[in-house]
């Protein structure tokens, strides 16, 4: 085919609407200055003398918050994919239980789920001597396994719903093309369906990850001391209101910034054309 012969231009079409490298546009300078001003004001006008006493606790809480968030998001998402798929395209045997699971998880407060697991289920175990004597007891006795379990299930429940919509939203033709070439069902899922579903769900998924960050403080109610619990502790100890919360907000902001940044990167892996 002879036609496209003379094209001297390198193919690097601007495939994305927002690739402006205008980091230093005037309005950004203004915004940055406002931000700096706020930070400076809170440093000078608020009370930070307590900070050195809590370094250790803050570091520990921060670490707990981060790992719980990361672990539960990853595990929860792995559960959410089958949950979403079962609802979107599965036969009734799997669709109905998946739907019931998502409804119950989304329908009841996380605090309640956490308590049911920890104080309900968890307090059954010690009644059986063989559990107390087993290898597992040191873990079952701890609180964090229950925290991780509850948060994972919660994330899976919400994300299962999101993934259901995302799976159902992939254009039929895209799947038909895959079927027409004889792809196995699992291959279709892995190569075509899941990537496209995830890609369109990414903005929502990022939001749900941030929601999960804000759900982690509940683990404090079962003695897992996260960053939020440290901030509460400072407030109780000192009766100061805003300073520990602002510090907490600053940490959350950084974590959220990282989450948003990572998801943005993922989103931009595949350029999408905007109408």
């Amino acid at each position: 085919m002879t036609e496209t012969a003379v094209q001297t231009f390198r193919i690097a079409p601007k495939q994305n609407g927002d690739t402006e490298a205008r980091r230093l546009a005037p309005h950004r300078i203004v915004l940055a200055l406002i931000g700096l001003g706020l930070v400076a004001a809170s440093i000078f006008f608020l009370r930070w003398d307590w900070l050195p006493n809590y370094y250790g606790l803050i570091a520990q809480g921060l670490w707990r918050t981060i790992w719980i968030l990361a672990v539960t998001c990853v595990l929860g998402f792995l559960l959410a994919v089958p949950l979403g798929l079962a609802q979107a395209a599965g036969p009734a045997i799997v669709a109905v239980p998946a739907r019931a699971f998502c409804t119950i998880i989304r329908g009841t407060p996380l605090l309640l789920q956490l308590w049911l697991l920890y104080y309900g289920l968890g307090s059954l175990f010690p009644q059986y001597p063989w559990i107390r004597e087993s290898e597992l007891w040191p873990y079952l006795r701890q609180a964090w396994p229950y925290a991780v379990l509850a948060l994972t299930l919660s994330y899976a429940g919400y994300e299962g719903e999101v993934m259901r919509g995302a799976f159902a939203g992939v254009p039929k033709g895209q799947l038909e093309a895959a079927r027409a070439f004889g792809m196995r069902r699992f291959t279709i899922l892995r190569r075509i369906w899941l990537p496209q579903a995830i890609h369109r769900a990414l903005p929502t998924l990022a939001g749900e990850a941030v929601l999960q960050l804000k759900a982690t403080p509940l683990v404090a109610t079962i003695t897992v001391i996260d960053l939020y619990a440290v901030a509460s502790r400072v407030r109780q100890d000192m009766f100061i209101t805003y300073e520990p919360l602002l510090l907490l907000a600053a940490f959350y902001l950084v974590i959220t910034g990282v989450i948003v940044f990572l998801f943005r990167r993922l989103e931009r892996l595949i350029p999408s054309k905007l109408g």
Binding site: W50, Y119, G122, S123, P126, R132, R141, A143, A220, T221, I222, T223, I225, A229, S232, R233, R235, Q236, D237, M238, F239, I240, T241, Y242
Partner: protein, 235 residues
């Protein structure tokens, strides 16, 4: 001028709890009203969620707080306190199956639960941290009690009142009071006081006087007898 008396919206019986019709009662509520009456202040009880109670005070949405706040030096940097109006001894409650007493050696190898940001937590950290296997922090004492019953912790430290009440319940049958901890005024502080904004010295004087007066005229004991069998004012 009315004085808005802030209490925590989360119930804390027998000190303060609402009934289903929304009326608050309990020892602390009655004491607060008695103080007001004595000081000739026109008071209204205003429940505020614990999280908002300090900002509510500083922005004048409430004027004084009677919510079982222990007086500590740290807290005094932020708000003012009246003299103490009660002080309960600190005890340790432990499982009947486990031998222990309320000393550092007696706690050796035990898992101890305390409520976060209480004088008990500070005390346990200071005196038991070296010997106890672990000190677990709970958001409320109720949770610590439940875990004690479930066997996840061996003992809990709190004021005698809360623990005796719990030990008397069905769930508390597992456990018994193991003893009173040695006093440490630096940590345990002088007791519970009325909180108020900094610099309102006139009001504080009035309230201090009123506390003294109701102790003197028998009102305090009259109210206390309805709730407790022992001397809640403490030594």
């Amino acid at each position: 001028e009315t004085i808005k008396v802030g209490i925590a919206a989360e119930p804390y019986p027998p000190f303060a709890s609402p009934d289903a019709s929304g009326k608050w009662n309990g020892w602390e509520v009655e004491i607060a009203m008695a103080i007001c009456e004595q000081a000739k202040l026109d008071c209204v009880i205003t429940p505020v969620a614990w999280d908002g109670i300090i900002p509510a005070l500083t922005t004048k949405k409430i004027d004084i707080i009677t919510a079982s706040m222990s007086i500590t030096d740290e807290r005094k940097k932020t708000i003012d306190f009246s003299d103490k109006y009660y002080n309960t001894p600190t005890v340790i409650l432990g499982s009947k199956d486990v031998k222990m007493d309320a000393t550092p050696e007696g706690m050796k190898g035990k898992v101890l639960g305390v409520q976060v940001s209480t004088i008990h937590q500070v005390y346990a950290k200071k005196h038991f941290a070296d010997t106890a296997a672990e000190i677990k922090e709970y958001q409320t004492q109720d949770e610590a009690n439940q875990d004690l019953a479930a066997g996840r912790i061996d003992a809990t430290q709190a004021d005698s009142l809360a623990l005796e009440t719990f030990a008397a319940t069905d769930a508390g049958k597992c456990c018994e009071i193991k003893g009173t901890v040695a006093d440490d005024i630096e940590v345990l502080g002088p007791g519970v006081g009325v909180g108020m904004r900094k610099g309102e010295d006139q009001l504080r004087e009035k309230i201090n006087a009123a506390i003294k007066d109701i102790r003197a005229n028998g009102k305090y004991d009259e109210i206390s007898k309805k709730y407790f069998t022992f001397d809640i004012y403490g030594g």
